[in-house]
């Protein structure tokens, strides 16, 4: 017995993933979706508060940065990962440990630049966008832009200045979601980083 959904194709998609299930099983799903739903509510609110997509993207990046500078400490404490010796090691740690720990997925690492200072993270599926559809009037919205800010903020705290951006997005019809990360420079000691 299932509830009448009011959301058209989204509801149908949802029910495909969730056949009739026992309450305890659905509670598990409830839990995993708290973050996704909260993030969705945030993006929706920001779209109401800001005139254009670019401003929303900037806000998401800034908020992500503020989250990243704190999240890194939680990550370091729980993963026991030491200092990375090079950008390749950093990429591995991000994809195989951090993404797994926080989002339950392991993106693959590809497209290394010849200089070893740029790579891509390929996400087959992005947990942030479960059941999300971008409305037509938000074609330049980078829905998951928070992630870019998080990565940038977290890495700044371990002395790496990086540039992070989405180059492919399943929400925009691409087959995968691709995040490009570029190493800019090492941040030397005695430069306190902080909140924006």
């Amino acid at each position: 017995m299932s509830r009448q959904g009011g959301r058209g194709t989204e509801s149908k998609k949802m029910y495909w993933y969730l056949p009739f299930i026992s309450p305890s099983a659905s509670l598990q799903l409830m839990n995993s979706e708290l973050f996704t739903l909260t993030y969705g509510a945030l993006v929706t609110q920001l779209c109401k508060d800001y005139e254009n997509d670019d401003d929303v993207n900037k806000q998401l990046d800034k908020m992500g940065y503020n989250i990243g500078v704190r999240l890194i400490e939680d990550f370091l404490a729980r993963s026991n990962v030491g200092r990375c010796h090079d950008f390749r090691e950093t990429a591995d740690v991000i994809a195989k440990i951090a993404f797994k720990m926080y989002l339950g997925i392991t993106p693959s690492i590809t497209n290394w630049s010849p200089g070893g200072d740029e790579f891509s993270l390929i996400l087959e599926n992005n947990p942030l966008v479960d059941f999300v559809e971008l409305p037509d009037n938000h074609s330049t919205l980078i829905y998951s832009n928070l992630l870019c800010g998080v990565l940038r903020g977290a890495l700044e705290m371990v002395q790496m200045a990086v540039d992070v951006k989405f180059v492919q997005d399943t929400l925009k019809g691409d087959s995968v979601t691709e995040i490009r990360m570029k190493f800019i420079r090492r941040i030397e000691d005695n430069l306190p980083a902080g909140e924006e």
Binding site: M1, S2, R3, G5, M14, L18, F20, I21, P23, S26, L27, L29, M30, N31, S32, E33, L34, F35, T36, L37, T38, Y39, G40, A41, L42, T44, Q45, D49, Q59, K62, M63, N66, I67, R70, L71, D74, M101, Y102, L103, G104, P127, L146
Partner: protein, 158 residues
């Protein structure tokens, strides 16, 4: 599946973000609580939507409130509500002695004046969850000593 720490930090940053925007003149202060509450409302609705609703499962209003206190609270905050009281006339008080969004802040009076900002989203969460279970309500919260807090639910007759 997203980690608990991620939700905690996202929630904190949402509160900070709303108030930062208000300070910079992008909205009045009072609106912040409303915005946080309505985000919570949307999330509460969404969470319950995933739960197979079978109205026959719940005998009555009290049964629904118990569900909120046990299953719903455990799913979201990893623990149950510690105490549920009601006047049997549509008012319920849910008491959480160690509210997960406050435990990192203080064990007493420090930072007390900031606590309400961190309760607005959850008030909406409860209201949204109830809404999708067929109950219209008004939810408010109060804290007198961290990290304990009380959520008051006033059922609105539809």
């Amino acid at each position: 599946m997203a980690d608990e720490a991620l939700f905690l930090l996202l929630h904190s940053e949402m509160v900070a973000g709303m108030y930062r925007a208000a300070e910079q003149g992008e909205g009045e202060n009072g609106r912040c609580t409303t915005k946080l509450e309505s985000m919570g409302f949307r999330v509460g609705q969404g969470l319950i939507e995933r739960f197979t609703k079978d109205t026959a499962r719940f005998k009555d209003e009290l049964d629904i409130m118990k569900f909120i206190c046990k299953d719903f609270w455990t799913t979201v905050f990893k623990k149950q509500i510690d105490n549920l009281r009601t006047n049997h006339q549509g008012i319920y008080v849910l008491q959480d002695n160690k509210f997960r969004l406050l435990t990192q802040m203080s064990a007493g009076k420090q930072y007390l004046e900031h606590a309400p900002k961190y309760l607005a989203f959850t008030c909406g969460l409860i209201r949204g969850g109830l809404s999708n279970l067929g109950i219209k309500s008004i939810v408010t919260a109060e804290v007198s000593s961290m990290p304990a807090c009380k959520f008051q639910v006033m059922i609105q007759k539809m």
